[in-house]
């Protein structure tokens, strides 16, 4: 168990491309941190720098109290789970897990104990003598995790480990991962491009954009208090409605939202901050252009004809809603849930009217 300190880390490739720029994160002991961002944002590169598979151009990475910049990947006391599992195809499941331990010079008995235990935890008991090609995707994924677990590393690194699985299995593995983290109480660093995965797994999310950190925070902080337009649009599905104040729709929304902070250029509204009321009621007139019924809730895409150039808004309503496509309605805005962004797309701090629910368990102490 250890914290990971990443200090002003940069990655510049030989061709001059800077993949990671001045990244600074302190990952606490036992924390589940998710690095998220669109493809090419540098999240995998950052993870690989922690693993030692990628050189650090400048800055410092420390695992525990030890700066690991020049330490061999095998000696960093980490374990990594890869996207394509990266199992050794010529070895049995048992040997796959034992390989790293053997190379550490561990005794056979100890290796056996660890693997048996991990196999039981991952329900791989019956497959220990099989080769990877005889296993299903989910089983291979478990072997990859088993290989990491038996090492009992200080830090677990995951490079998009769930993206090759089908949707159902992915949801299942997500909960298994969460469970695993609780049981091992180890530090997890997890890379994904999927914001749902990030939201559901993370204690804290590090969101990256073009090599820079946009924001670090708990999933709820990122959702309710996004530091920038980028975060606001990346986190949450359906995405936040962001409307420039220069447009007619922006002006109309700002009027209903109440006090307008001086440098605001863009208004941001989560779908649930837009309230749909019956036509003829107070608010901005519009009609339902499309209704996506998801069961428990329905996402309404609302067309506001008087909005000028930007006329589409999304809101979510209860699944029992009477609104269907073509219905007229009037929308109002919940003033306590409005975000304002300045001309550089940064959020303007307002009274945090929406207090994120306090966490039930405090974060582990540093």
């Amino acid at each position: 168990m250890a914290q990971v300190n990443i200090q002003s880390v940069n990655k510049v490739y030989a061709n001059g491309f800077a993949a990671v720029k001045d990244v600074e994160v302190q990952i606490r002991d036992g924390e589940f941190v998710v690095l998220v961002g669109p493809s090419g944002c540098g999240k995998s590169t950052l993870l690989r720098m922690i693993a030692g598979l990628e050189d650090i151009s400048s800055g410092e990475v420390a695992i525990g109290d030890r700066v690991v910049n020049d330490i061999d990947p095998a000696k960093r006391d980490i374990a990594m789970v890869f996207q394509n599992y990266a199992l050794y195809p010529h070895m049995t499941v048992f040997d796959n897990m034992a390989y790293g331990l053997k190379n550490k010079g561990m005794k056979k008995g100890e290796i056996h104990t660890r693997i048996t235990e991990a196999a039981r935890m991952l329900q791989l008991d019956d497959h220990l003598t099989r080769k990877p090609r005889q296993l299903s995707g989910g089983q291979r994924q478990r072997v990859a995790m088993g290989r990491a677990i038996v090492r009992e590393p200080k830090v677990f690194l995951f490079d998009e480990p769930l993206s090759n699985l089908d949707a159902k299995l992915r949801a299942h593995m997500r909960s298994e991962l969460k469970e695993l983290h609780r049981r091992l109480n180890a530090t997890f660093v997890f890379v994904t491009h999927d914001q749902v995965e990030a939201m559901s797994l993370a204690d804290r999310i590090v969101i990256l954009n073009a090599g820079r950190i946009e924001q670090v925070g708990t999933p709820m902080e990122l959702y309710h208090q996004p530091a920038s337009l980028f975060v606001a649009e990346f986190i949450g599905s359906p995405a936040m409605n962001t409307v420039p104040l220069g447009t007619r729709l922006g002006g109309m929304l700002a009027n209903t939202a109440g006090t307008l902070p001086a440098p605001a250029m863009t208004i941001g509204l989560r779908p649930e901050a837009i309230l749909a009321g019956p036509a003829g009621g107070p608010g901005i007139k519009g009609h339902v252009a499309m209704a996506e019924a998801l069961g428990a809730e329905t996402v309404l895409h609302i067309e506001v004809p008087q909005g000028g150039t930007d006329t589409r808004l999304t809101t979510r309503v209860s699944g029992e809603t009477r609104f269907t496509e073509g219905d007229e309605l009037a929308i109002t805005v919940d003033p306590s849930r409005v975000c304002w962004f300045d001309h550089e797309g940064r959020r303007i701090a307002t009274e945090p009217a929406t207090q994120p629910a306090p966490r039930k368990e405090p974060l582990p102490a540093e």
Partner: protein, 293 residues
Amino acid sequence: MKRAQFSRPLFPYLLLVPQLSIIAVFFYWPAAEAIRGSFFLEDPFGFGSTFVGFDNYYDAVTGSEYLNTARFTLVFTALVAFFSLALALLLAVKADIVLRGAKTYRTLLMWVYAIAPPVAGLIGILLFDQSIGPITDLAGLFGYELKLGVNYWDTAFAMVLVSVWKQIPINFIFFLAGLQSIPRPVREAAMIDNPSGLSRFFTITFPLLAPTGFFLLIINITYALFDTFGILDILFKGEPANNPITLVYKVFLDGFRGNDLGGSSAQSVILMVLVLVLTVFQFRFMERRVHYN
């Protein structure tokens, strides 16, 4: 797999005719001719032949000269196959980690492949030349007088050296392709699991290269047995005298210099059977023991 259907059943055979006729003219016919010839004693001046049954085979296999040649061929093949595979693998592993100028480097290594065997033999003669050969000079520096074509083992050394040199490029190309088909994450996982590069090579890279390696082993054995003929012929300048020769060269010598067509036919039939066994061995036995993904 989906099977394509032709409306006229004979049409596909028609398409095979050019290929089959070439094989028939250049392989089946001569092969049948060799088998037939191996049972006859041919008059050197073409005045008819006598059926002698298996006498040609018996004479070939029991002759002490043949056994010596066979023994040398075995050693020669083993040395050529081993060194050309080992050196090519070493070069491929090194080329694989080169990032800058990789293409130039690879092209330079592959060039030798474009050289015809007799030309390789000529280059070998230049290298081992009595008065200007750099290898002769090098041996001289160590106080050894290297005489190509005079000392049995000196010639053997030159034969192995030139044959290995000629064969390295093709092995290199295959090994490099094999190395590059090992998924990067697998290698990276191994980097995390094992700090020793050498141990990683023998426990991960080498087993995953086994299919390529096995294929190349067969190719190299056949190369050393048969395709080195051109190199040897030039190195001996067509006059092997008491220099070491391989079985294939002996077939040529006995048949075309010694005019013993029946005996040389028998020898070539023996070689043909050897290749057949090797091929069966390749497909039946060893492919199963190799890890394919």
